[in-house]
Amino acid sequence: MTRRSPVISRRSLLRGGGVALTLPFLEALAPRTSQAATTAARRLVIFHFGNGCHIPDFAPAQVGDGWIPSPILEGVAEHAPWINVLSGLSNEAAAEAAAPGSGDKHERDFASMLTGAPITPTGAGGISVDQLAAQHLPGPLGSLVVGVTARNHVHNGRYSWAGPDSPVAPQTDPVQLWTTLFAEAQLDPLQAERLAAERGAVLDAVREDIVDLHGRLGSDDRLRLDEHLGAIEQLSAGLGVLSCEAPSTPEDLALQDDTLRPQRGRALMDLCVMALRCELSSVVAFSLGSTGGAHTYPFLGISDGDHDISHMDMRIETERAKYRDVTRWKIEQIGYLLEALQAAPGSTGEGSLLDETIVVGLSEMSRGGSHSAHSLPVLVAGGPMLTGRHVVYPCDPSTAFYPGLPETATWCSGTANDTRLSDLWLTVLQALGIDTPSFGDSRGVLEGLWT
């Protein structure tokens, strides 16, 4: 029997080095393209917000450079030069009917959003883009899946998939996430050494049990054992090297209280950015709230649930205003994330983390009232890309539901001519240097982004 000798982790040497992550105030925001032009994209952050939006309040009225914020995009008005708004992308995989009783429309939209493949009765149609990217990019923790809220069904509580039957549970609590990422850095060296030795010995024993069992079970069962071993490896990585200073413990924010949801979301985003900085992971799949979620907005003075709001009557101004206001708040959170990435130094010592990171912000649906996955609201930022543009991708227009839609934001009708969300994922993967000819139901890369 071999047993690893106790490792003094680099973290233990960083005792007392934990400092609160504070983001410097940014005095001026300018288009980032010149700075970023020479930097390769090496990380991916996906930011999801649930329950769609009223597209006429989302889509900018101009195409091309210098988009003027719509009522919803006021939420990122000051970051507009960093952002490209993408119109006309559709998730065709969500439109395909699953078996009866296996996924309502929310669930089909959500669980296929990152896979580009229709759901199965019990799982997903394939691996999700964050998981695939993480397989090719450095970082011991793989894709860091973090959600502010997670519902409890397989298709409405999971969006990241390591495989068709491998939904990845999001981390939802800032203190737990911090514990996973950084807790050992807070111990004194003796404690840390002892804990590392004990945990190392225990995890070695667990590994042996997994390997033992692996040989005695059939191939179907081995899927879970492989997952278990992979997760143990990720956990063990926490015993090793940390290439940055760990942040201090986040505040304990009660999970069930909606009044603190904004703080919880920002604490989680801070930790995700730190995990990227510390090279624990290269990929983050962040969700601000599950599809169909019933969370409320006491901090905006709105007591309706998010899902109810998304089904309100858009012909009534007060109801439309609620949908607009909560979506604007969601978009503001993307702004917070972009600032956090911009404030963090890049790994080359030049530029910012944002220069090296592709950011995609999107919802699983466009309009709540129809749960449509056509003409999705999508924002992209970061990496070597010309930004500050509203890009409209081709599709067959329909005016069935949006007579008042701006001409620049065609309502796609779901025909074969629509441009697919999977094409964006393929573009992202290739921009990250991952050599894959297709992803999900993709048909080609999108021009003019990170090329």
Binding site: A97, P100, D221, Q256, H295, S370
Partner: protein, 536 residues
Amino acid sequence: MDLTRIAMGLALGGLTGCYQGADVDGEVGEGTLDDGLDDSSDGDDDGVDLDACEPEPTISAPLRRLTASEYRNTVLDLLGVDASELIASFPTDPRIHGFDNNAAAQAIGLAHVSRYQAAAEWIAAEILDDPQPTLGCDPAQIACRDAFIDQRMPLLWRRPLTEPERIRLRELAESVPDGAPRSGLGLVIRAALQSPHLLFRPEPGMEDGERTGFEVATRLSYFLWRSAPGAQLHERVAAGELDSAQGVAEVARWMWSDPRAARGRAGLTEGWLRTERLETVVRDPQLYPEWSPELRTDLTQEVVAMVERFATGEDDFLEVLVSPDLTLGPRSAPLYDAPQTSETQEISFDDPWRGGVLSTAGVLALTSPGNVTSPVARGVWVRDAILCEPLPPPPSDVEIDPTTAQGEDKAAQLEAHRSDPSCAGCHSLVDPIGLGLERYDALGRLRVIDELGQPASTMGSVAGLEDSEFEGAQALGERLRQAPQTRTCLATQMLRWAHGRSETEADACVLASATEAFEAEGHLEDLAVAIATMTR
């Protein structure tokens, strides 16, 4: 009689054809299960033909992992440590068909193992801080550690340990830097709780074609108790009591009468009646000032308590759909205009609008996803949970908001909605059910006027049932109790819970036989025993 046809038609067929407005009258409700298998074929006096079906075929499904609930109960029962608070931070077990134990969703990742590690370290510390209740010996003694490995570990891993495993655990204990037996035992407990032997339910016996007695015991105990088998059941295994169908049936009956079985039945109810949805129900406090997490607990408990009463009583279990006796919690009582008390109370109603589990505030709240009642959502729930006739989701991009349709009241709006032929096929199956439940608001209170200020509709009907029209939840319960597919569906739900997977065509024989076993006396126990026995 073609049992396969019946089971397939009732339980597995779904209503795929409703997009096209399929004629459901011809699809369901034709078969009866009365002319089934010969009751006396094996001389079993319970009327269950234990050998009616082939043993469960090997169905491709991933290894089962303990759910958070199962982990909690396992640690509580075997180590006497209540780790509920820590376990509340485990990732939620994603549900399929409302059940938290479907193996297809039981992936394991970093979010899990980091919590398992934290839980194992906490539990080990708890035991070592106060060793007497759990260990009954002094952990500073090596004998105490060895007793744990020899006696407690087989319970945790639910089978005898091999000699190499025992040696490895002792070596792990001796690897601690300070060499103290107490710290060594701590490592053993931590490793035991993070091991795949505990976290998963491996069945290597199946690789040799047959589950071992310990593997059968583990299946039974997580099905019926939502927990590990424990010492008593292990003794029965060692005595060979699980080596025959008859033995399994007897053990299953003993387990059904054990207090731990209430946990298993609660797990069944979560999925069968979807009480799990109450976990995520919220209400606008301005519209529903009485809404609180405590009320949510009451709403869940009143459904669970009612199921429990009929699951363990002598009456036909399906009385649960019609009985005027409801169990009200201290906070839910006012929803029924009943006097508020500090304790749970049982009240016998003399009111056609109160009777049966469908009239409980719990069911009526969980079928209202938002602040406004949805006849569609309630109808879908009846089809899905009680009849196992799930509807396909609406076609893509259909405008689904009935409130945007023209019409003065909900019935008219839904009717206008159904005038679209692409909607009518499915909605004619669900809307009329929900319209018969409009007299209850989104917290289950009786009302006369609905949210739109219109008189709440009272008449409902269940397309496809012989006697389809009804007024109120108790009458609906009576219609459903008479429907043969309600019983087949209950068997299907029990099978999903027992096996932690969705049903397949290969389950048709088991479902038909189990339904028949249930119909003999109407006892839920017979249904559970039949499924446990035929699929050992």
